[in-house]
Symmetry: C2
Subunit: 185 residues, 2 copies
DNA sequence: CTCAAGGAAACTATTTAAGTTTTTTTAGTT
DNA sequence: AACTAAAAAAACTTAAATAGTTTCCTTGAG
């Protein structure tokens, strides 16, 4: 049950931020009462911490595995970016703006994580690609990663997908195509 | 003074959405008191309407001029996208999510505007480029435009620029470069 | 039928912020 | 220097929203 709560919260936080999401929303999404929700977590903030912790764990695992299993920068980048982006949109601006004010410690940890694991690690894959002559050297790798994340965040939302009749897969593929073409030599 | 208020509000709304931005914030940004703010606008909602109306006017003007003056799709796209994107981030998700709840009529008008002027008009430039064989035909033009807007929204924020020491110009150019390379044949 | 668990609803307390009013400050004029 | 009007700053009122808590109602198992 804890995991279901974290799932539901992650989904909501990623779309609406922290403040805008009420405990009633989360409970309703799960078909449980607030009372039951509070059986599992002491507070809304605790849920946010749990979301962050699980996500960080998962992404760490993913990045370690990719490092071990995939030698080439482009393939590794593809693999990593496809799996990471669907998870990190919770660290998009509304959630971060909200927790910066309301749970500053959590914000700090998320910032560090984002900086270290996302931009440096993934940016590092791109830098490797630059070295190997597979990726253009006239672009900033951090801007590249951020651009991609921004595009994903803009499009991979239930309402947008539904309204425009994009399948998740098509949308991902389109974005990735543009992006990869844009960064490769 | 009205224009200064609209400027300040647009900036804040684009970054933080509607709800999160207080009248105190806007007044403070302008170095005026709330009392003076209310001399010019009856309510916070009125300011939001004014922001929308001015922006729509400006973008309409811009799009008309580009249509008249620039024949080629790629050049027209470049011109339009550079000028439009710095303006439409106010229609990013936090602001829209907020007004959808709080000022539904405004939301509807912004949605229509966005759909018509941004995605269709600009997407139309891209479609023209597809026809003329300058742009790849295997990407969805709407996803392309949205991707670009998402990237801009992610990066062109004061805190991000400052923290990473990107100049606005460099950031814009980097993003545009990736993007153009990604969509062109 | 009874009872425990959990959903739904109601409640309390707190926070937030729009909009309004009062107090203080500032700048200009005499 | 004194006075005044305008505006900033501060304080206030009111309403809304929501976290967290408690009570009521329903459901399912034994």
């Amino acid at each position: 049950m804890k995991n279901r709560i974290i799932d539901a919260a992650e989904k909501r936080f990623s779309q609406y931020g922290f403040r805008r999401v009420t405990m009633d929303d989360i409970a309703s999404d799960l078909g449980i009462s607030k009372k039951t929700l509070y059986l599992h977590f002491k507070s809304k903030g605790d849920i946010a911490w749990a979301v962050k912790e699980r996500m960080h764990r998962d992404i760490d695992k993913l990045l370690q595995r990719a490092k071990r299993e995939i030698p080439g920068p482009i393939e590794r980048f593809k693999k990593v970016i496809a799996e990471v982006t669907s998870r990190v949109s919770v660290m998009g601006s509304a959630f971060m703006t909200d927790i910066k004010k309301e749970i500053p410690d959590l914000w700090r940890e998320c910032e560090e994580f984002r900086e270290r694991e996302i931009y440096e690690y993934i940016g590092g894959i791109l830098k490797e690609g630059v070295k190997k002559g597979k990726i253009r050297k006239d672009i900033d790798t951090k801007i590249a990663v951020m651009s991609y994340l921004g595009a994903i965040r803009m499009i991979i939302q239930p309402e947008i997908l539904m309204k425009n009749q994009f399948s998740i897969e098509d949308a991902f593929n389109n974005i990735l195509k543009i992006f990869l073409e844009g960064i490769q030599k």
